[in-house]
Symmetry: C2
Subunit: 113 residues, 2 copies
DNA sequence: CCGTTATTTGGCGACTTCGCCAAATAATAG
DNA sequence: CTATTATTTGGCGAAGTCGCCAAATAACGG
């Protein structure tokens, strides 16, 4: 039997690129904040804009990034557009991210001393 | 009682930036591939380089990004450096990412038709 | 010490992301 | 139709990311 070492080509590559697309959408503080906030229920763009404290066009673009990645859904009602999480399991990420951060802090302190 | 709407400032902002740091480290196809591979056990830089199919300096930099984010640990043994996952719960991410991707594909098809 | 192998670091051009402003679009009231 | 409010889109400069090459560093055998 020949070596079965998996390589980052073809289907595997496409798969990793797809995953990276989702991660990229989550790789921004404002977008993480929005996801966190949406975990408590739907919010309109103007509410999120006030909370994030950036230009409304900036927030709108962040939301469109999350939407294109498949993380949120939008729902236009009258003049307003409400966003909500499409895949709530996204929230499970944060527990692990916190674990990474706690480990990091502990070790950073150790390593610096 | 005044409004308690949370804003993206101060401590909350710092917290989201810290989280985003971890997500950014995972937001690249080669790095996701590496994490996936390390879930099967430790690997040296040269093994990963062969699998990823990029310049060894590129792979080394990817590993240093993962290390600085607190996701992997390195262990130098002789001439080689072996990397391994520090926080295996990272793997839980992928299940949810797949869920996002499946939803996306389904809806993309629907929306295009 | 010298050569070899494994890895990291510096640096550069190509490309992407970010946030604001201004302008376009959409829904609704009057 | 006009004005108003909510949101999206286009565009631009600033900043960050990426991958390669070349050079530096590290471990080890002889």
């Amino acid at each position: 039997m020949m070596s079965v070492k998996r390589k980052l080509t073809g289907q595997t590559k496409a798969h990793m690129e797809a995953r990276a697309g989702v991660m990229k959408a989550l790789a921004h503080p404002s977008r993480l904040f929005i996801v966190d906030e949406l975990s408590h229920g739907e919010r309109c763009v103007c509410e999120l804009t006030e909370m994030v404290g950036a230009d409304i066009s900036t927030v709108s673009k962040h939301l469109s990034v999350l939407k294109r990645a498949g993380i949120v859904l939008d729902d236009k009602r009258g003049v307003q557009v409400f966003y909500r999480l499409r895949v709530p399991c996204i929230l499970n990420f944060f527990g692990c991210v916190e674990a990474v951060l706690e480990e990091s802090n502990r070790c950073d302190v150790e390593e610096v001393s």
